[in-house]
Symmetry: D2
Subunit: 366 residues, 4 copies
C-alpha cells in the first residue's frame, strides 16, 4: 500500500497538534481514532488500551489500516506522565469514575483535557453521588470543567482546560429543548423524552444482552425510570429555564449500529397553547429554532414534510431537528436525530477541540 496518500500529509507537521486518546478501544474511542486520523490539524501521538497494549491501531481496527499512522502507532498502557510528555490535548474515553483519576495529573502537567465520560458533567458532587452511587473522585475539578455543548457554551469551551463533552442522550434532548425553555414556550414539568438508541450506545461490552442474536429482532426499553443521564439533562434544562426542571426519560434499545432518535412531547404554555391558529404556533416555534441555530454548522432544522431519520445523520456530526404542533392536544412534538458516536460522542469532542484551538469549528468533521 502506498503510504504517501491521504489527508495526513495535507498540513505540515509543525501545524499539527499532538493529541492522545485514553481508552481508545471502546466504540467512542474508536470513533475518536477515526476522526483524529483524518483531522488535518492533528497528529495522533498516543493511544492507550490495557487490553490491546502492544498492538498497532491497524491491528485492532483493520478499517484504519489505510493510514500510515494506524499501521505504526501502538496501543500503550495508560500513564498520565507519559501522555503529558507526548500530547498537548488528551481525550478521555473511559468509563465513568475512571476518567477523573486521569484528568487531574494531566491538567497539572499542562495538558488540556476533553473528557467523554460523565465524570465532569455535573456541577454538584452531591447530585453525582445521588445518580452514580459513589463519591466524586475529583470534586475540586467540577467548578473548572466546561460542559462541552458548543451550541450552548461556545465561549467557555474556547478557553477551557477541562471540557466535559455531553453524551448521546443529553445532546439529543438538550439541543431541541433548550431554545423552547429559554423562549418560555413550554411548561417546565411537561417534557417527556422518548429515545431510541443504536446498540453501540451500550459500548463494546461482551455481555449477553448485546449479542447479535439478543438485539436483532428485539425492541426493548431499559433503565426505567431513573437513568443516570437524567442528572446532567435536568441540570442543563434547569439552567436554561431558570428554575428546576424535571423530565420523563424513557430510553430504548433498537437494532441499529448507530443513531439516536429522540421524540419529545411537551405542553405549550398557556399563551401559545391557546392560540387558535395552528400555523401561527408552528411559525413561532420555527422562528425560535432559527434564531437559536441558523448559524450553527452542525444543527440542521428539518422544515419540510419529512421528519428526521437517523440514516441522514449517521457518520456525520449533524443533529437534525424537526417538529409538529398537534392542534388536537395542543402539545408540541419535537424530534431529533443524531449519530450517538459522532455528535453524541467523538464528533462533539472534536468540535470542542477545534474551538479550543481556534480552528474552524468544522475542521475534520465534514
Amino acid at each position: 500500500m502506498n503510504t504517501e496518500h491521504g489527508t495526513e500529509s495535507s498540513h505540515g507537521a509543525d501545524d499539527k497538534v499532538p493529541v492522545a486518546i485514553v481508552g481508545a478501544s471502546g466504540y467512542s474511542g474508536e470513533e475518536l481514532v477515526r476522526l483524529l486520523l483524518r483531522h488535518p490539524r492533528v497528529q495522533l501521538a498516543a493511544v492507550t488500551s490495557r487490553q490491546y497494549a502492544g498492538q498497532t491501531v491497524a491491528q485492532v481496527f483493520p478499517r484504519f489500516a489505510g493510514y500510515p499512522t494506524a499501521r505504526e502507532l501502538r496501543f500503550v498502557e495508560p500513564n498520565a506522565d507519559v501522555l503529558a510528555r507526548k500530547a498537548r490535548f488528551v481525550f478521555l474515553a473511559l468509563p465513568h469514575g475512571v476518567a477523573a483519576e486521569f484528568a487531574l495529573p494531566l491538567l497539572k502537567q499542562g495538558c488540556r483535557v476533553i473528557d467523554l465520560s460523565a465524570d465532569f458533567r455535573l456541577r454538584s458532587a452531591t447530585v453525582y453521588r445521588e445518580f452514580y452511587g459513589h463519591d466524586h473522585p475529583a470534586p475540586e475539578l467540577l467548578e473548572q470543567a466546561v460542559y462541552g455543548l458548543p451550541e450552548i457554551y461556545r465561549p467557555a469551551v474556547k478557553g477551557a482546560a477541562l471540557v466535559a463533552a455531553p453524551g448521546c442522550y443529553p445532546t439529543s434532548i438538550l439541543l431541541p429543548t433548550i431554545p423552547l425553555l429559554r423562549a418560555g414556550f413550554i411548561e417546565t414539568d411537561s417534557v417527556i423524552a422518548h429515545s431510541l438508541s443504536g446498540v453501540s450506545g451500550a459500548g463494546r461490552k461482551a455481555e449477553p444482552d448485546y449479542l447479535f442474536v439478543e438485539c436483532n429482532e428485539s425492541l426493548r426499553a431499559y433503565g426505567l425510570p431513573k437513568h443516570r443521564h437524567l442528572s446532567e439533562i435536568e441540570q442543563e434544562l434547569s439552567l436554561a429555564a431558570g428554575l428546576p426542571v424535571t423530565i420523563q426519560f424513557t430510553p430504548h434499545l433498537v437494532p441499529v449500529n448507530r443513531g439516536i432518535l429522540t421524540t419529545l412531547c411537551t405542553q405549550l404554555k398557556a399563551g401559545l397553547r391557546d392560540t387558535r391558529d395552528a400555523t401561527e404556533v408552528s411559525r413561532r416555534v420555527a422562528d425560535c429554532y432559527r434564531q437559536a441555530y441558523s448559524a450553527e454548522p452542525f444543527v440542521r432544522l428539518v422544515e419540510e414534510k419529512r421528519l428526521p431519520d437517523t440514516k441522514n445523520v449517521v457518520g456525520t456530526n449533524y443533529i437534525d431537528i424537526g417538529w409538529r404542533f398537534d392542534p388536537r392536544t395542543r402539545r408540541l412534538l419535537v424530534i431529533s436525530a443524531e449519530d450517538n458516536l459522532v455528535k453524541g460522542a467523538g464528533g462533539q469532542a472534536v468540535q470542542c477541540f477545534n474551538l479550543m484551538n481556534g480552528f474552524d469549528e468544522t475542521t475534520g468533521l465534514m
Copy 2:
C-alpha cells in the same frame, strides 16, 4: 415429501370449519394462512388474491409447502358468491375501504365475517369520515359489528356475525390502558403512547420507503400528529373511561420484521399520585392488572426486573405488559410488546374465530 403428516389430519374432516381468506397475499393475510393451515379445526377452503390468482399457496408462500393443502389450494379472484358457497367463515385481510364491499354480500348469504381492516371498527360513520377522508361504504353494518378484542368484548364476540378485529397499534395501547381507565387510576388527558413498529406493519407495499436499504439502519417517526388509528383507540378508551379521552400517539418505524413495542406515559390521578409510598402505588397497579388479566390466556403480566421485549412475543399471540412507577415525576410508565401480525392481526382474528365457534380460545394458537 410425505403428505400424510402434520396437524391437518388430527381431526376428522367433519369436525372442521370451512374458511376463506380474502386478500391473502399481504402480510396479515399470509399470517392468517399460516395460522389457519395449522389450526386443527379449520379446513382452509379458499384464498383470494388478484395478483396471484391461479398459483398455489405453496408457490406464493414457499414456507408453507410442507402442508398438503398449501400445495393443492390455488388463489382465486375474489368473488363473494363463490366464497359464500365454499366457506362458513370468511376472514377479510383487505385494505381499508375495500373490506366493507365484501362484508355485505357475505353476511347476507349467511357467512360470519372477521374483518382485519379498519372498516368496521368505528361506531360512528362521522368519525370514520373525519379520519379516513371518505364516506363509510356500508354504514348500516357499523351497529352490528363487534370490536374484536376478546379481553374486552368476549361475550359479544362469541355471538357476532361481523367482527372488526382491531389492528396492531390499537391492541398495543388499549390492553394496557383500559384497566387503568376503568379503575380511575389515570388522568384521561394524560396518555402519551409512543410506539415502535416493525416494517411488516406497513404491509407488503413495493414502495421505496420500505426497501431494505431505506429501513435498515434507519429510525424514524411518521404520520404525526394525527394517525388514522387514533380514531378507534380514542373511541375505545372513551368507552372505558366513560368520558371523552384524547391521547398523544407517536408511531415510529424501526428495522425489525415483526413486533410492536408501546411505551405509555400517564399521569396518575391525585389520590394515587400523592401516595407517599411508591411500593404501594406499584402494588395497586399490579392488582389492577391482575384483576383484569390473570385469567386471560394471551396477556402476560411482566412483574419482574426485566421489561417487555418484542423478541419474547414474536410468532406468538401473547401481549406482554410491564410497568414502572416513577416517584420523581409521579407518572406511571407502562410498556407492552406484541407481534403486530399475530396479536395485532391474524392471531387476534383466529382468537375471535375460536370464540365464535365455541372452541377453546387458544386452539391453533399455542
Copy 3:
C-alpha cells in the same frame, strides 16, 4: 394467566415420556426447550444449567412464560444420577468434550441419550484427536453411537441407546450431497461447499466477535481452511461414496439470527458431464433427489424457478434443496437452506427422539 391452556394437556400424563436437557441455556438448548415444551408426548422433567441454577425456565426464557411447566420448572446443576432418576431420555446440549462425560453414567443407568455435541459423531478416536486436539473422553462409546441423521440412518436411530445428532453445517452439506455420491453422479474430489450461517450458530457466547455491532453490517469468512466439522462431513460422505472423500468447506458468518444456506459446487462425472442435453442432466438429478427424499417429511425439493431461501425454513425442521446444472462449466450447483437451530440442532434431535419412541416422526415438529 390461565394455566389450563396449551398443548401440554393434550395427552394424559401417562402417555408422556419424561425427558431432561443438560446444558439448556445455550441457543440449541433453548430451542430444545421450545420444542419439548410443546411436544404432546413429552414431559419436560429436568433442565440443567450451572449459570441459571435456581431460576425457572420462564425467568431465563421469558418467551416460554405461557407454559405452566416453564413457570414451575427450575434449572438445576447437572448431575447424572439425579437426571437418570427423573428422565428416560436425556438430551445433551453441551460443548464438545463435556458431553461425553455425562453420556457414560446416563447410559449405564438406562437412559437413552441424544447428544447434540460433536463428541460421538466420529467413528474414529484418531480422527477425533486430529480435529479436536485432545483424546476422546469415552472412546468405548464411539462404536455404539448412531449418527442421528434420520434420512440416512433411520433404522439404526430407532433402536439406538446413544444418538449423536449431527450439527448444522454437516446436515446442510450431507443431505444434498449423499444422494449424488450414492448415485455416482459427481467426482468425489470436486465438492466445494460454501456455507452462510446465522449468528446463533456461534452459540450464546459473550465474546466481542458476536456483539450486535460487530456482526450487523458485517460479512466474513472464518475457520479457514480446516473447520472441525469437516471430520464428520468427510466421514459420512466417504461412507456414502464408498471411498475417501475430501471436500472444500468455507463457512461464513452473516447477520441473521438463524439459518444456514449452503451452496455446493460439484463436477459431474464424465458420463453425465458429457451429456449434450442440459435438460436431460437436470432430469436425472431431479430423479435422483426424488428417489432419495420424496417420502421424507422434512426434506423439500425446490423444483421451481425460485431457489431455496432461509426465510422459508426458519422456525421449522425442513431442509429445502434446489439445484442448477451449468451447461457452460458442466458443473452442478446445489443449494440447501435450513434453520441451524431446528433441522441443524434441536429439531433433528427431536426427530430422532420420535423415531426412538416409535412416535410419528413429525410429532411436535409441525
Copy 4:
C-alpha cells in the same frame, strides 16, 4: 445553518472541474453525489433524474443538506446538449442499455464520460448481445472505451475519453484473480467465485423482493447459473491469462446495506500444488500479491490471522484481499471485501476521474 463551512471552499472555483451526474437518484448515483460534493477539485454542476426533476439534491437526499450546493442544485431532466454546456466530465449512472445513448452526443461535444453501467465494458458487441439479449446500442464506441479498473489499466484510463467503470462483482473477482493468472499460479478452468452482496447492489428498485421484510433474516442465491456480469469478468480474466477463462460464479443476496464479500476457490497449477511445504506456497502467493499491489492506494493485503470483513471497507474505496492455502486439498482460497457502492461503483469512478485529471488518485476518497 452556516453555509461557509465544509470542504467545498477549500479550493478556489477556478481550480474546480465542472461535472454532471446523469441518473443521480439510484444508489450508485447517490454515492457519486456524496463523493463529488466533498471532492475538493469538483464543482457539481448538474444532476439529472426524471423522477425528481425540480427538487433540490438536499430534498431528495436529506443527508447531504449540510452542503450549500445540495441545497441549491436542482435535479433536471437529462439532456445531453444542456449537460455538455455545463460540465466537462459526465458520470452516467443509468441502467444498462440507456447509458450508451447518452455517451455518444456527450463525447461528440467534447465531454469526457465515465459510465457506471455495463454498456461499454465488453470489447465484443457479440458477447454483449449474448449476455444482454439485445444489440449493442453504440458498438462503434466499444473500441474506444477503457475498462476503468485503475489497478489494471491505469495508463489507458488517464487518457481516456470514455471510461467504462467496472461493477461491484467484477471488481471483487478481478483484483484478487488477475495477479494469480498473470503469474500462472492457478488452473484457468478452476476459478469458483462465491459472492455475497448487500441489498443496495440491487439498486433502488421498488420491487417486493427487496422490501425490508423480504430481505431481513433471508439468505438466498440468485441469477444462477449465468449472471450477466460473467461476460466482463471472463473477458478480463482471459486477457490476463492469455487464453480463454471460464469461471463459476454464484452471487447471493444477504441482509446488509453495503458490501460484497467474494470467496474464491482455485486449483493451484501442478508445480505449486505439489510443493510439499505449505508455508512456501503461502509465501509465493504473498509475493505475487505484494508485487501487484504494494503501491496501490486502495488495495489492502490482509496478511494476518484475521480475514477480510466487509465492515472494514464499508464507506471507503478500499478492497481488502486475504488468502489461505489448504494443504488438504491443494486449493488456494482467496477472499476479497469491498463496498459495492464505492470501490464497486462511485469510488472507482472517482478514482478514474482523478487519474483523467492528473489529480492525486486518492483526492476526495480518503
